[in-house]
Subunit: 329 residues, 2 copies
DNA sequence: TTGTAAGCGTTATCAG
DNA sequence: CTGATAACGCTTACAA
């Protein structure tokens, strides 16, 4: 910085000022400063900036699971929104596989991010030990996207409206004439639990029996097993709504094994690119992850305090109808 | 740090030393220091550490595409290896979608990472503008995993051996009796080009004609179109080796549309979880991304200079045989 | 606008 | 092991 100042024949302070508030530097000196910087290949050191108390002008993005396509969709959309606003988004992976509980917060990474003093923090997905995160990044405005519903009160949250999503599914299936509809899911975390109860609620709204819920988590194998149980029961459903796309693929296999393809309708959830693949062709609820990411980034960018309503922002999903649910009963 | 020193009744210097080389601090003082730190909730500020010239004891991981499952597999494996060695791995997304060329280096992120003075840098995938990256992170030892083959000379590289991979495919298919084998791929970058020429080489080794290469990139749609061209030609192949799993899924669809399922063998590449899905059941080359990630991390961890052989480290793949290629001709 | 000086939290050096 | 001091690259406050 001193070199730039010398070359531009101004003071070190003015160089600093030139980057932080260019407007308050006279145009001709500003130009000289930027020219000198360009010649010297100078750019302000962001780390040094972070060292003094002031919050830095960037947003940290903490991802719970880098392999989950739902989360990476949200992340990329948020990042693009931040970039459009000229704000840097630093994505980091927050979770490390642990021998004991399967996965744990990567404390070191979060600590480092906290030391960087980001002005905002976007947590994408369900990160363990949120209390720790909040504590270590106290400087930042916090928004959670696609996280555990209602895990921590008082935190701003943006997520898909699973109530509406499941209602779309049940509306669609009943419109096709289905009455005996099963659900495969409910296990593996609060998201699954929420979708199961949303399913039950939607069924009741239609005056239908919501008893046929076969426990499954988010995996293909579990979906297959749960669907097998439903299909082999005394009163098998004519349609099955799965908790996500992967489980739905397991359901499709169970249906195919019984020669029921095209007879039993199947739906997934999340509308990942899996659902659109030719051999799969799965009707699925699209939570609009891009919108979730964008809204979350906008909350972080907005001036003032982040509104921390209890429910948070709910993004309305839509239904992507495909071949797996075209049978009319 | 001063507070900890006071509480533990030692000098500030010793607290610093306690964290950087615990062995050189007498056990009983060390214990007192750690106890004081725990009570005060103190941890060394990593950012302040990075500010003075010395390289920091962590590795930055730059990912070219967070949505590419091949790359995230490599990243997670590298991260786990680093964690086992007690080394922090900070994953960041290096590429931002750009209006012009589709995607561009996120210079700000790389600059920030460079300012953090990582001791090592792992670049996963093909990142644009590597010269820029090298320049901005001069402090770090650099290793590239799963990157463009031979893009930049003199850089340490770890990647899958596509020569061997394609030979495994052709060996497998010829063992099943196939003679007319087509390839779908060759477009979309140097990886595709390399696989296409590896395919041609393997065919020649078997004394077969390698002429049937239909241009396709890594997408399902392109795979479908290319396979359609092959299958509708005068002398259609009895087996098709695709450049990756997604293109292979397009190939499967083209095969199915012509009522040739079970007759025409299909193989993919990368052995992503797609290939293992029930309705897809695709034979695929497994590049062992976990090994690639681990080897890359080990290069970074090893003492001394990173060996920068021109070819770099080649990891031998294996073949995951599934239903899509069980037909015996 | 300028120049000066203090401060951010650490590490490094060095004489005691 | 201590204590003091300088340095890392920047921001900020203040007096000129």
């Amino acid at each position: 910085m001193r070199d730039v100042a010398d070359r531009a024949d101004v003071s070190k302070s003015l160089v600093s000022l030139a980057y932080r508030s260019p407007a308050s530097v006279s145009p001709h000196r500003l130009e000289r400063i930027l020219a000198a910087a360009a010649e010297l290949g100078y750019r302000p050191n962001r780390v040094a900036r972070s060292l003094n108390g002031a919050r830095e002008d960037f947003v940290g993005i903490l991802v719970a699971d880098t392999r989950n396509p739902v989360l990476t969709d949200v992340v990329e959309s948020a990042r693009a929104t931040l970039a459009d606003a000229g704000r840097l988004g630093l994505v980091t992976s927050a979770v490390l596989p642990s021998p004991s509980s399967g996965s744990a917060l990567d404390v070191e990474v979060v600590a480092m991010l906290g030391d960087l003093q980001p002005s905002g923090l976007l947590v994408v997905g369900s990160v363990p030990d949120m209390d720790r995160v909040v504590e270590m990044t106290a400087s930042a405005r916090l928004v959670i996207a696609s996280g555990r519903p209602g895990s921590r009160g008082g935190l701003a949250t943006v997520r898909g409206d699973d109530e509406v999503g499941m209602r779309l599914v049940v509306d669609h299936l009943t419109a096709l004439g289905h009455r005996r509809i099963g659900h495969v899911g409910g296990e593996g975390g609060p998201v699954a639990a929420g979708r199961a109860s949303a399913f039950a609620g939607a069924m009741r709204e239609h005056g239908l029996d919501a008893g046929a819920i076969a426990p499954s988590d988010f995996t293909e194998r579990a979906g297959h097993r749960a669907a097998s149980a439903l299909l082999d029961s005394a009163d098998p459903p004519t349609a099955i709504a799965a908790v996500n796309d992967l489980a739905a693929i397991g359901v499709l296999a169970a249906v195919a094994e019984r020669g029921l393809s095209g007879t039993v309708a199947v739906t997934g959830y999340d509308n990942t690119y899996l659902a659109a693949l030719g051999p799969i062709d799965l009707t699925s609820v699209d939570p609009h992850n891009d919108v979730i990411g964008r809204r979350a980034a906008e909350l972080l960018l907005a001036p003032g305090h982040v509104p921390a309503s209890d429910d948070g922002v709910l993004v309305a999903p839509s239904l992507a109808v495909r071949g797996s649910s075209t049978t009319v009963v």
